[in-house]
């Protein structure tokens, strides 16, 4: 009786068996990778805004303090996007006929809000509170990156839960002296470990168990 398969097919058989196993593995890894990729997290993607507001210019060059616009940051859960009024405080005088500021003036005239594209987004079931972080020595740049060098703001970190929890598990790595909180150029010193530990004592930061309880962020 004639052979249906040539000897060589044995190889194909073995190969296909192992390669399927291999491919499945690769696929799994790929899924995990995609979930962490900028495509999903929108990390490092700067957005078109109705007015191309440059933090680099306002913060970096003009040295305007974060709190001038983001007034809620020390007292409230949300830092707050400034009302048009805040822009007009200066721009009623400076560049008060620059074309690219027209949307601002328009909004101010017509009392219609400007629609800014949201860059840093958390899911609705996450309750992040700016004030507590700022008050406990977590600097703006720890989460937002060096805003003062961003012509257009982009998300500097993944904002994945993984990333949040890293800090909540050991905050020492990011704690800084209170006067450095709003300093965009702050770099962790080499002895951050011990300084962080000291600051954690000083700020009376809660235990890791407390910081990583579900209800700390989810309600």
């Amino acid at each position: 009786m004639a052979q249906i398969f040539h000897r060589s097919t044995n190889f194909i058989a073995r190969f296909s068996v192992f390669s399927t196993l291999f491919l499945v593995g690769v696929a799994l890894v790929a899924v995990l990778a995609v979930a962490r990729s900028p495509y999903m997290t929108r990390q490092n993607i700067s957005r078109e805004q109705p007015v191309q507001f440059s933090h680099k210019h306002h913060v970096g060059d003009d040295g305007i303090d974060c709190r001038y616009c983001h007034t809620g940051v020390e007292t409230s859960a949300v830092a707050g996007i400034p009302p048009t009024k805040t822009c007009m405080n200066c721009h009623s005088v400076l560049f008060n006929n620059a074309a690219y500021l027209e949307p601002i003036r328009e909004s101010y005239r017509s009392d219609k809000s400007i629609q800014w594209v949201k860059v840093h987004r958390l899911a609705d079931f996450v309750y992040f509170n700016h004030s507590i972080h700022v008050n406990k020595g977590v600097g703006c740049s720890s989460c937002h990156g060096q805003i003062n060098q961003m012509p257009l703001v982009f998300q500097a970190h993944t904002l994945l839960m993984q990333w949040c929890v890293e800090c909540h598990r050991n905050p020492e790595q990011v704690l800084r002296p209170k006067d450095q909180v709003f300093n965009m150029d702050w770099k962790a010193p080499d002895n951050q470990a011990e300084i962080g530990a000291k600051l954690r004592e000083e700020y009376k930061i809660r235990t890791t168990a407390e910081l990583t309880s579900c209800s700390t962020c989810h309600r």
Partner: protein, 1053 residues
Amino acid sequence: MREHEQHEHIDGRHDRNDPAADAKLREGSMDLAAVRAKLQSKTGKQYWRTLEELAGDPEFEELLHREFPRQAPSEWEDSVDRRDFLKLMAASLTFAGLSGCGRTPEQYVVPYVKQPEGMVLGKPQFYATVMPFGADAIGLLVESHEGRPTKIEGNPDHPSSLGATNVFAQASVLNLYDPDRAQTVTKFGEIQTWSLFVDSAQAIAAEMKAANGAGFRMLTGIVTSPTLAAQIQSLLTLFPQAKWHQWEPAVGDGTREGAKLAFGSYLNTVYRPEKADVILSLDSDFLGSGPGHIRYAREFSRRRKLNGPTDTMNRLYVVEPTPSVTGATADHRLPLRASEVELFARALAAKLGLGGSAAIPPDAEKWLDAIAKDLQNHKGASLLVAGEQQPAEVHALVHAINATLGNVGTTLYYTEPVEAHPANHLESLRELCADIDAGKVETLLILGGNPVYNAPHDFDFASKIKFDEKKNRKPVKNTIHVSSHFDETAELCDWHVAESHYLETWGDARAFDGTVSVIQPLIAPLYHTHSAREALAAFGDKPGVSDYEVLRDRLKAANPSADFEKFWRKTLNDGLVAGSAFAPASANLKFSVASLVAAKTTPADDIEFLFRPDPCVYDGRFANNGWLQELPKPVTKLTWDNAALISPKTAEKLQLAHNVAWRGGEHGKIYSNVIDIALSNSKVTAAAWRLPGQADGVVVLPLGYGRKKAGYTGTNKGFNAYAVRTSDALWTASAPTSAIKKTGDDYPLACTQYHFSMEGRQILATGTLEEYRRNPNFANEHAELPPKELSLYKGEAEFPYNREKWAMAIDLNKCNGCNACVVACQSENNIPVVGKDQVMRGREMHWIRIDRYYEKAKSATNDPSSYDESLFNPPTFFQPVPCQQCENAPCEQVCPVGATAHSAEGLNDMTYNRCIGTRYCSNNCPYKVRRFNFLRFQDWETPQLKLLRNPEVTVRSRGVMEKCTYCVQRINNARIESEKLNAPIRDGAIVTACEQACPTEAIIFGNANDKESRVAKLKAQQRNYSLLGELNSRPRTTYLAAVRNPNPELESA
């Protein structure tokens, strides 16, 4: 039945002319296009007729169902609709593992152009205001998020609330966002502008002026608002011949007339329960309803407070025909028929030497002696309260008895009336109807109220304003109705003015003690609505003036002070005019008991039919409020329906029974016999409900249901008791047993707790004061509690709870089952309404439930459908059950994904976004406090309801478990604030929603690690016990045993 449901949809369509809905229509499916086509070129009445036809075909009904989802989700096993397809797509995508890769679209931030003063984004603001309700005004603090009122709290500075609230106040915020509210002025159902209304009002006024106002009538409910009263007065002066009529369907004239009978003039009574050692309530639910009841409940509970065995308690006797919240709290409760209550009062008066006499049922005799003695032993420290539904005689008698006992000035005092214009409402309405028949009425202005629905049916109010086919004319030339909904009355009136919600208007009202309180708007009117005063002013000489100015002018006039602005700001801040409460008025008795005419009695073997306001929808005004519809009624635990309440014995005689359905069962669906009730040549069909503790031979017909045009939620729920309520028997009607006929049908009722026996388990620990004094630890001796070391897991070592250790103590001695906490929780935590069908499947979502147990009920008869003597007058107890936040939580150990986990402060955190919905935790929860979103219960479409949500709490969708979290959002916010100051969280800084609403301070939340905290102190008491402690679940929520203070004389016998 059917076509009513269609009406309901007509409502649905009709009331929504807000852009959102129209947008919905435009983007709607094919059928909607068809509908529009049909409706093209139709106007006015025609338009509606076409809609009527349309409503005939089921497709349209179905369409409305899905186009206008409401508080109660109607979609249930319908055909697949648009949303469902989307869901299906989403689901299939996820199964294909694709959803992960799909990126959510861009979101936008929309900041203010000019941010309001003093507003910090992300921080709620609180404003003081009051909710006018009958002859009372409930002082409130309303929470507002970026201008959206979201939560009602009590105003601690306000005498009527003392910081607490009741179900109506809590739920009133839902009324504000009710999608079925009338949204604009209409004439003959067609949309009009306000100015058009004002013009025609002025035209009418001009005519009136000529006739000196003859034929101009105003019909209002109880008015306590000085500004509104002033407005009416100004019209009355403008039109001398005009008349002001009043009709408040659910408040008896007995109270008013009783005072008149006793003192010769209308007087208002203010009680001081706190000062009374012995209280006798004659069919009065003063802890659960009526003016000042929130305060009374608070004062009363202060005298039920026990810190130790040596403390004393007051004693409450209640004589009532049907179990009420007050009756359930009583130390002694005597079920008597309503008519016998008067006899009892007369007999008591006689016993106390006030003359007169009456024969009372033999078993009441020994009661009488005991009570009489007890009262006499506490002269000046006793208090009698007569029920709102009792006749004037009883009130007069009570005034007399209180006087002889020297209680006046100590446990109660009299003031000038709170009502701006006290009158006998029944007579007032009777006069109006007579005048209309006599053709004397040209213009009728109905301010609020809904007389077509709730006037005595023998007045046949509808015929008074409806077009008369025979005479081919309208009985009243101009009819104007001002109300929040386009209801039964609006339908028959020419003009309908959409009335603003109290959270949208400036105004004022007097509280039960006369305190002038300011109504401060939290939000500009959502629709084209106006206040009743504005509607009135449209007829006056100054139509344009705004409520704001009027209010300020009146206050300025009434309170001439140097710096008015300062005074104004203070008033707004406090929500009341300081020191505006009435001073006690001298009241000297002008009547002798002997002079009373013989009491009206019901023949012994006749059935007595009582009309009572419903504990949830009141007189029907809250019928369209989903929260209140789904709220289990305190004693019966029924939802979404009213039922004819009958005592088990009487029901036995009439062979009326229930049976438990297989789906839902004791915790959901009960089939009960349907009966026809023929009363005063009219008839209603109702479901009969056996109610233990009800006096035999009494049938209670709760008012407020059977609405025909309430809106989507409230239409055609239950039966309309007004249909058999006549002017000659407003509160008590009697008829031979033959008046009740079984139809042979069964009707499914949604009852959240049918089973009322504790099955000999110590679920709710109770004892008497003597027992407590003899053995202060009685509550903890029912079962051995396992030692704390017993644990497979690290337990304490794993969770040291070094800092806060959140805990709750619930004093069962104070709880009177009023339900305020349940609604407060629903409002605070975005809890959905699931609708009757789902409640009947045992799927209601309340995070805190109030269990009702009958202590002596034998377990053999664990449902009243088998009659048993122990159900005649069983001691009734209430037990609020939120999540027990076990330290050794059974739920946590079985969750496969760790969606419910232990927090470092000992909360059982519930992480909705991690939950996959295995329901294992709920199965393993011994307290069954977990709630599951079996379907998509949350209403994601209706735009108004989105404004209602509390932004601090995740809105749950389908397929996840949820439960009480001790209001963790409030805990977190308080913790964050204290952390910023590096200060400890002070006791009382965190108040849970239930605790805040509780009128009796029965619920106390705090940090058990802080030995000084109130909760720690309570837990230190021996009365403190854990529910099912023997399971070693170690609940953080513990209970303090209920202790009753019975009269030894009555006990012995």
